[in-house]
Amino acid sequence: MRVNPLHTALLLTPATVLILMLLVVPVAIVAVMSLTNWQFGAATLDWVGLANYRELLADPVFQKSISNTLTYLVVVTLGSITIGLGAALLIESDTQLRTFYRTAFFMPVASTLIAMAVVWQFLLHPSVGLVNQALGLLGMEPRNWLNDGRSALYSLAAIGIWQMSGLALVLFLAGLKSIPQDIRDAGALDGIEHPLDRFRRITWPLLGPTTLFVVTVCAIRSLQVFDTVHVLTKGGPNKATEVLLHTIYSEGFSFLRMGYASAMTVVFIAGIFFLTQLQHLAMERKTHY
């Protein structure tokens, strides 16, 4: 339908203008800024070309940040989908208390992470925290979870898994529901009866696209980790929990080196872009069967 172009323009203008102004142009500015050494508040700036990127490659803090972020991403993604898939399979296998279990696992996803991070800080407290007290009951040594360089990142990862598993669970539940009962029936008649057989030959293959989708969802969210780091460890101890967004934040808004932070942002965008492409691939394959 073609209507008066003026009317169409009226419908589209706000959205288009805002997309340009608030999304596209700023990203372009970030890209351009990454080629300068601008500092916030400075009156002038210099073009430095790819110098920022060269500096990034050599910057030990940035290296550590990337490596921490990737470690966090892998641990949290794997942990979340394992727990999510396992719980989904168990929940689906029977009818009792399904809603209760789903609610319990999803609750962390629904809650305000910052507030719960504060709760976790208390839980992980070296002496009065629940975790160490519970360990004490079991006869194990308490640890200074968040302040010990060896355990800090993994503690944050544990919180990340706690927060993300419910999301994986719900996505897997939807995926399991989409496996037609007929195929399970056909499998039963063919002799695919043992749960492990059924999982390997029917459930897992047919969940493939869903699994890929869940992996990318968890990976994208993990890549954007910031809240828990800023609230609990500020990147420490000794950069043990420094992550990409936190480094960008520090460089850009504490040290005010916005040119440099822009270069990091470009790397960040590249990472997200790559994962988003994977996700689109996954979504397409979901309709493949």
Partner: protein
């Protein structure tokens, strides 16, 4: 193979009883169709026989063996589903081989890579492939071996589903409305192929459908079902010519059987449309008279006469289907006349005769009553 005996089978979902105390004997080697509209319980019954669901009460025995104690794959039944239920991630070959692999390989043999270690596993796999290939060839789908289900047409998928069932050489074949998703021509072809398959294999086929044409044309016996019960079990001829009750009479036969009210008076005399049509033992009272559309004749013969206005005429090439609105009969009476009948037009008054022998009599509850047609001589109105 012995007969399958089903007795007292009951199944309920939530608060609805889907199958109510059903008894059925499926004879060895016969082609039995479960016929009924949606919700009558036919698919549920099939799933209970297959072991895909458990009944709440009742027994299913194969000769002496209690089938209910066995898992689906142990019952030696194969099933062809309406939606084909092919494994989407496997090729055609993989689909057809699966039942054989599952049966032949034990736990260790099924582990991935088992073929590398065990010559026995390799042999079993090779044998499975060979058998599967043969079956695929017999159905003409050998050329599709490497394709995935998503790349096949409906008819091809159905053949793959059939092959997967056949490859197991089961004792019983179960079909759950396998042709509903196909177009009319394909349906006709496959109907013939399935019937031929039955004659070749000589194995018991239990077929579920809502299409009475399919049921009548393919089966040795038909079980007409409604609301979880079997209304009548018999050969297609029995079902058609001697329907046990009104539901069966109305369900089978196209166009639908015609119905009108009648009365059994004293001494078993049956009256309809103001005249005597025959005799019937049993209680006096209102009754229902039925006759098939094909029974109506334009020539005056000894029989029940109905006269009315033509409200619709359809020329199908092979015949004329006429709808007649008759006084005293609520629904229009439908008749099928041969195509070379004298021309008739909508709006015209028509008188049609139905020979007494073509009349079916049912009591007020819909159950069949014995009926003696009036002999041709004594047909004048009293």
């Amino acid at each position: 193979m012995p007969d399958i005996h089903i007795s007292g089978l009951t199944k309920q979902f939530g608060n609805t009883k889907v199958i109510k105390g059903l008894d059925l004997t499926v004879r060895d080697g016969e082609f039995l169709t479960l016929l009924g509209s949606s919700g009558c319980g036919k698919s549920t019954l099939l799933k209970l026989i297959a072991g895909l669901d458990q009944p709440d009460a009742g027994a299913i025995r194969l000769g002496e063996r209690d089938l209910l104690a066995l898992s689906p794959s142990q019952r030696d039944c194969a099933m062809v589903f309406q939606s084909y239920a092919l494994y989407p991630h496997m090729t055609v070959g993989g689909n057809i081989c699966t039942p054989l692999l599952m049966r032949g390989l034990g736990f260790w043999g099924r582990l991935p890579g088992a073929g590398l270690f065990s010559a026995n596993t390799r042999r079993i796999k090779a044998e499975a492939q060979a058998s599967a290939r043969k079956v695929a060839q017999s159905l003409g789908i050998d050329g599709l071996w490497e394709r995935k289900p998503a790349q096949l047409s409906g008819g091809q998928r159905q053949r793959v589903a059939l092959a997967r069932a056949m490859v197991r050489r089961p004792a019983v074949f179960l079909f759950d409305e396998p042709l509903s998703n196909l177009d009319a021509n394909l349906r006709q072809t496959l109907r013939g192929e399935i019937r031929q398959l039955h004659d070749q294999l000589g194995v018991t086929f239990i077929y579920v459908t809502h299409d009475q044409h399919e049921a009548m044309s393919m089966s040795d016996r038909v079980a007409v079902m409604r609301e979880g019960r079997i209304l009548q079990l018999g050969t297609p001829e029995e079902i058609y010519t001697r329907p046990a009750n009104l539901d069966v009479a109305r369900f089978v036969g196209a166009p639908r059987i015609n119905l009108l009210d009648g009365e059994v008076k004293a001494h078993g005399v049956v009256w309809a449309q103001g005249r005597l049509v025959g005799h019937s033992h049993g209680k006096a009272g209102p009754c229902r008279i039925a006759f098939r559309p094909q029974a109506g004749m334009l020539e005056a013969v000894d029989g029940l006469e109905v006269e009315g206005t033509l409200v619709n005429v359809e020329y199908t090439g092979a015949e004329l289907i006429a709808s007649l609105q008759v006084d005293g009969i609520e629904d229009a009476c439908v008749f099928c006349f041969p195509a070379n009948s004298p021309a008739i037009r909508v709006g015209q008054t028509l008188r049609v005769s139905v020979p007494f022998g073509e009349i079916h009599l049912f009591d007020a509850d819909g159950q069949r009553r014995p009926f003696e047609a009036l002999p041709p001589v004594m047909s004048k109105a009293a």
